[in-house]
Amino acid sequence: MSSYKGLTQEWLDAWKQKIAESKEYKEIAKDWEGSVSIIVNAAPDKNLPETAYLFTDYWHGDVRDFVLCDEARALSARFIMSGEYVRWKQVATKELDATKALMQGKLKLKGDLTYVVRNVKTINKVIDLLTEVNTIWPDEA
């Protein structure tokens, strides 16, 4: 199985492909509309010298843009999730559930929380599919 360097465009493409190929995701996410940006705060001691901005876009079970972006584009997303690198890595490796990370204040969310709660299955499925991407994290490189 191929491995990808985490937080790179190739890694995002692999994640997008996993989602696009998932029939289960397509069914669960049939009502989801809108983009989600992921902001990973810089962690020089973890080999992430600058903050990473990721823009991901979903529409009724389909996947649209999945790109590294600048801060302005990230802040234009319908939902913005931000947090420390170590927390994102914990979420992406299933060490920490994303909902728990939000409730404990370890990740922050900007956007309609009601919509997120109603669609929590969709979010969990997207993260489940990320864990299937064989990732080499910056601090492991």
Partner: protein, 618 residues
């Protein structure tokens, strides 16, 4: 003394005597307030073996030191008595404005004994209390009675019972200003047994704080923490029913009397987001609470119309929704309103009806016994009719009015796994098969199966992380029993402080423990460290356990019901059941219980509970 009014009210409804008493600082430092203080008085001064509905059994209302201080979330007060439903220690806590008003009226608590020959109310204003006739109020539902009392003066804060309490329904609730309800363990029936229709209170006195400047600074910090909390935001937007969507996904939500593991259509129709988009008219807050998690709802069309009033909590959306296979949120709101008006605990009421539906399906309840009602799953017309029959103790309602355990015995269904309880109290709506720690918390809670007298839910479901208090994981796996005994032990010692300090448990989930500690110290001047507070929590648990031991509780009662030990075939908790023996053995060792389930002499001595040593070991 800072944080306390310094006076408790003692009322004998048989003689009409009204008096005040005070408690020494050493006792307050030991038990702080709330139900902990009530339990210490109960053990010391009253006959534990009296029937809960006998005149000599006390009915107690207790504040804590933070009530009335203005600290965020400090609205809570406790009501305590021997439970008419379970026959053991009973208590229930409540928010709203009654607690702060009682302190402004000059009292930290009220202890009521005796029985009036005619219906009365207790009226407390500015340090004075009088007993007044309530003949015109008797028979009125809680909304009507509250309106009549407030018609005289809107400033009164009201605790009132409805027809269920008057008729001694064993899971009667007490209404607080038509907005909050003291539901669990049936303490409304204790008021009813004393012919006490209501307690009304008002006052203008302010209680002192030890360090006003420090208090202001800590309160400001608390408000900032709440503002930044996603948990607080979710409660404000969706109320406690925010748990429905998340719970269905992780195996927390019970369905069809705990026999089905997953139904996403149910959760979608009954969830917090759905309530917000359909019947919510506004959010309502308790005193000094910036969160405003309480729902105010109205159903304006269809067969289940209601006036604008308090909306159902998550628990009620389950008991009158998922547990009985009702997909109609409007009908849940109607059932909630009926329980509020009649004065009944929505958890026990819904759970008892769920049991009855299962017994009807199995032919154990015949059509004749059901008074001609079709007790089929999801039949909400029947549910509404049955709630009235329960409150009025009519027909099948008279049987169900004693709660599911006693009703099952009368219906010839004792021992059947349709009765889902611990120590006679029906399980709240969190499935221990999805969260084994919650199962242990149910087993060991001192009022029977309880989700609130500890912080196990917040800790095990990952809503909180308190590494500064004790060692804990950021992410517990729900479907394992390993390590859960320590989780539950810690969660009890800290979570129970919400009751004695008088802070809402939801706010405890939003605030850092050091903020709560500092607020408490700024008010009282006690200068407690975390370990002092946790010791008070441990003392509280052990005191109530000792009382229950004296009432006959032992290891044989620390068990989960058969249904919860039966695995589900679908959903996130499929195939999982708590390892009851492992959980209990580990917990007993940590808690200092012997094989009988009784606190050891050494543990009692360590906690300074000498009176219990005398009573349990002589």
């Amino acid at each position: 003394m800072n944080g306390y009014a310094g006076k408790f009210l003692e009322v004998d409804l048989t003689t009409g005597a009204v008096a005040g008493f005070s408690l020494e600082e050493a006792r307050l430092k030991k038990f702080i307030g709330g139900s902990s203080l009530a339990a210490s008085l109960y053990l010391e001064r009253y006959n534990l073996h009296a029937d809960p509905l006998a005149p000599e059994s006390p009915f107690m209302v207790m504040n804590g030191p933070l009530v009335g201080s203005g600290f965020p979330g400090s609205s809570r007060f406790a009501v305590a008595a021997k439970s008419p439903q379970t026959g053991i220690w009973g208590e229930s806590a409540c928010g709203g404005n009654f607690g702060p008003e009682l302190k402004k009226a000059g009292f930290d608590g009220i202890v009521i004994t005796g029985r009036s020959s005619t219906p009365v109310i207790l009226s407390i204003a500015d340090g004075e209390a009088i007993i007044a006739a309530a003949d015109k109020l008797w028979g009125k539902d809680i909304y009507e009675a509250t309106d009549m009392l407030k018609a005289e003066d809107k400033g009164w804060k009201v605790l009132a019972i409805g027809p269920a309490g008057e008729n001694l329904v064993r899971f009667s609730a007490i209404g607080n200003d038509k907005a909050h309800f003291i539901g669990r363990t049936g303490l409304g029936a204790v008021m009813g047994s004393k012919k006490l229709k209501a307690i009304i209170v008002r006052g203008n006195k302010s209680s002192g704080k030890c360090d006003e400047e420090k208090f202001k600074a800590v309160s400001k910090e608390a408000l900032q923490e709440i503002k930044e909390s996603t948990f607080a935001e979710s409660l404000h937007l969706m109320g406690s029913d925010v748990g429905m969507d998340l719970g269905m996904m992780n195996g927390d939500v019970p369905i069809k009397n705990w026999t089905v593991g997953e139904d996403f259509e149910l959760s979608a129709k009954l969830s917090g987001p759905t309530m917000r988009e359909t019947y919510l008219t506004k959010a309502h807050a308790c005193a000094n609470c910036p969160v405003a998690c309480k729902r105010v709802v109205a159903v304006k069309d269809g067969p289940y119309q209601t006036e604008e009033g308090p909306g159902p909590e998550y628990e009620t959306c389950c008991t009158f929704g998922t547990l009985i296979m009702n997909y109609d949120l409007a009908a849940v709101i109607k059932a909630n309103e009926l329980c509020n008006r009649y004065g009944m605990d929505t958890i026990t009421a819904g759970a008892t009806i769920a049991m009855a539906m299962e017994l009807y399906e199995k032919g154990i309840i015949s059509a004749q016994t059901a008074d001609g009602l079709e007790l089929t799953w999801g039949n909400m017309d029947t549910v509404c009719a049955l709630l009235k029959k329960i409150a009025c103790r009519e027909g099948l309602g008279n049987i169900l009015a004693d709660g599911s355990l006693q009703a099952a015995a009368k219906l010839g269904a004792q021992g059947l796994d349709a009765v889902v309880h611990v120590k006679g109290l029906e399980l709240p709506m969190h499935d221990p098969r999805g969260f084994h720690g919650m199962g242990l918390a149910y087993m060991m809670s001192n009022r029977g199966a309880c989700h609130l007298q500890h912080a196990a839910m917040g800790m095990e479901q990952g809503m909180v992380s308190w590494p500064q208090l004790f060692e804990m994981k950021e992410d517990y796996q729900g479907t394992t029993s390993q390590g859960k005994a320590m989780l539950v032990f810690n969660s009890e010692n800290y979570g129970i402080l919400g009751n004695s300090l008088s802070i809402c448990q939801y706010l405890m989930y939003c605030l850092k423990p050091e903020t709560i500690r500092d607020g408490f110290n700024a008010v009282t001047g006690f200068n407690f460290e975390f370990q002092d507070l946790l010791l008070c929590g441990a003392r509280d648990w052990t005191l109530k356990r000792g009382i229950n031991n004296l009432l006959g509780i032992s290891a044989k009662d620390d068990v989960l019901p058969k249904r919860i030990l039966t695995p589900l075939s679908e959903g996130a908790a499929a195939g999982s059941v708590p390892d009851m023996q492992l959980l209990r053995d580990e917990y007993y060792a940590i808690r200092g219980l012997d094989a009988r389930g009784v606190p050891t002499r050494e543990k009692l001595s360590e906690l300074g509970l000498t009176e219990l040593i005398n009573k349990l070991y002589t």
